[in-house]
């Protein structure tokens, strides 16, 4: 009984946390207050459900309990006249909602737009979404972002105070503003995914990647008409579908070219392809949609054995034109090597040499080493690969690059031969 109640509480927590926070915070704009009230409601649930049994509608039960705390807090802060009326009004509204099963309006999208508002520092948007919508603790978020838990906690508190005090609205922006604002929401979610995934997994937090995919599904379900949301979800699904193939049995890194495609999650690839098809049918291509299309082309190439490198280069052309990103330029050059050979690709890479961001970007040096080696410049390739090794934090990738380096210039035997 106690176990069943505990599991029910966890299930509700997982499914309802963000929904309830969003609903409680949408009216007051006080996210921290909503979280506190809900936290107390969950604590009360853990005390009473094991004894009294799980209520028929746990969400409504939690909402009612949280509402009481919220009204108490509001009363404490406001004068009698101004407070009573406000608290009463809010109480009535929430009570009306809680009476109907499944009638709690989903305000999570509005909360996401508040968390990713231009008035919120870009670096705090992802942590805010992870805490308010997913319910991750400041400790978990801090671990993923490699900052001390206390620091992350303080930043989250400040960001929530800012949502309340600066007047940041809880609403889905109007059509004219939606593309730009949605881009910020998608960027926040995708940043969570890349945090969880890093370049190749390694010591990253895989749960964070799962949370990001969950958030991607949430945005797609709440904004079904937005192709970029589908594009981003397709991109994350494509990358995660190959998760199991990225390491061999010994834990060594396996590049896409050498992956065992039988280890790919075909169901997930199908989901990604389906989403990408819908996105392509719906409207103009955005950054995520193009990146998903590139992933899709690579997957098709490995699965069918038919490579359309020219199409991949063309997709990168779009991406470079759209973002001007040096990373896109780098990947375009690598793809172009398959069409026009390594020399042409190295010529394309030349402008990146002056880019400071590339100097400490591991994939730049790894790609450069790969292209130089194919072009027959052994010494220069070895130098680039060594820099890549020096920039790698992931041991599996480091092992892979050291293998490439060794294959390039077989080590001379120590000492005289007998």
């Amino acid at each position: 009984m106690a176990d069943e109640a505990g599991r029910a509480a966890e299930r509700v927590a997982r499914e309802s946390y963000g929904r309830l926070v969003a609903f409680l915070a949408a009216r007051t704009r006080d996210v921290a207050g909503a979280e506190d009230a809900l936290g107390e409601a969950f604590a009360a649930a853990l005390r009473t459900w094991p004894v009294d049994g799980v209520p028929e509608n746990p969400d409504a039960w939690l909402l009612t309990a949280a509402r009481r705390r919220q009204i108490d807090a509001l009363r404490r802060r406001q004068t009698q006249v101004a407070g009573e009326e406000d608290a009463q009004q809010m109480g009535d509204a929430i009570a009306a909602m809680a009476e109907q099963r499944d009638a709690i309006p989903d305000r999570r999208l509005a909360l996401m737009f508040a968390c990713a508002h231009p008035a919120i520092e870009p670096g705090m948007r992802t942590p805010l979404v992870l805490q308010t919508i997913v319910g991750l603790t400041a400790e978990d978020i801090a671990a993923a972002f490699l900052v001390p838990a206390k620091t992350m906690g303080q930043r989250l508190v400040r960001a929530k105070a800012r949502i309340r005090d600066a007047g940041i609205p809880f609403r889905v922006p109007e059509a004219d503003e939606l593309p730009e604002r949605l881009a910020a929401v998608l960027d926040a979610i995708y940043a969570a995914y890349t945090k969880g995934w890093s370049e190749v997994g390694g010591d990253a937090v895989p749960e964070l990647a799962d949370e990001a995919i969950w958030l991607g599904w949430l945005v797609v379900s709440l904004l079904p008409g937005e192709p970029e949301a589908k594009g981003m979800l397709a991109l994350m699904l494509h990358a995660s579908a190959r998760g199991a193939a990225r390491r061999d049995a010994a834990g060594a890194y396996v590049p896409l070219e050498e992956q065992d495609t039988r280890l790919w999650d075909v169901a997930r690839i199908r989901q990604a392809e389906d989403l990408l098809r819908q996105a392509n049918a719906a409207g103009p291509s955005g950054r995520y949609q193009i990146e998903a299309a590139i992933q899709s082309a690579h997957v098709a190439r490995r699965l069918t054995g038919v490579a359309d490198w020219a199409a991949i280069v063309a997709l990168y052309d779009h991406l470079v034109a759209l973002t001007g990103s040096p990373v896109a330029l780098l990947n375009r050059a690598v793809a172009r090597a398959e069409v026009d050979g390594p020399h042409a690709a190295l010529t394309d890479l030349a402008p990146l040499e002056a880019d400071e961001r590339m100097q400490s970007y591991q994939p730049y040096w790894a790609a450069k080493g790969h292209l130089l080696s194919r072009a027959g410049h052994v010494a220069a390739a070895a130098e680039a690969l060594r820099v890549a090794v020096g920039l790698t934090t992931d041991d599996a990738v480091k092992g892979y690059l050291l293998g490439r380096l060794a294959a390039l210039a077989p080590p001379r035997r120590e000492g005289p031969e007998r």
Partner: protein, 116 residues
């Protein structure tokens, strides 16, 4: 929500801005006057006319000049009433000064119904 909108300008650049800015401000203030709860503000004389006063330990310091010596100086203000920051940002975009200087949006603290 009530917001104070603080206009900051690079003063030499403002001095060079011609009658165009004045005409834009005329239209902007008219729009502001029509919007409920908004009030056209005032333009301030340049910071060279400013005096800053501090009292510390019973001693009064009267300084010749503005509070902060920055490139963009406080140059004027207006008030708006808006449901959220988004509408306040829209007013800041409409304000001609956002093109020449900058507009800082500050929510006004509601002290009437709050104990603090």
């Amino acid at each position: 929500m009530r917001f104070m909108m603080l206009i900051h300008h690079d003063e030499p650049a403002l001095a060079k801005a011609g009658s165009e800015l004045g005409a834009e401000y005329g239209a902007f203030n008219e729009a502001l006057a029509k919007a409920a709860g908004c009030s056209p503000g005032e333009r301030l004389k340049p910071s060279s006319a400013a005096t800053t006063v501090r009292q510390r330990g019973g001693k009064t310091d009267v300084l010749d000049g503005p509070y902060a010596d920055t490139k963009e100086q406080f140059a004027g203000y207006f008030f708006i009433e808006a449901p959220s920051l988004d509408e306040a940002i829209a007013w800041a975009q409409r304000c001609p000064s956002s093109k020449y200087g900058s507009v800082e949006i500050r929510p006004i603290m509601d002290v009437t119904g709050w104990k603090g």
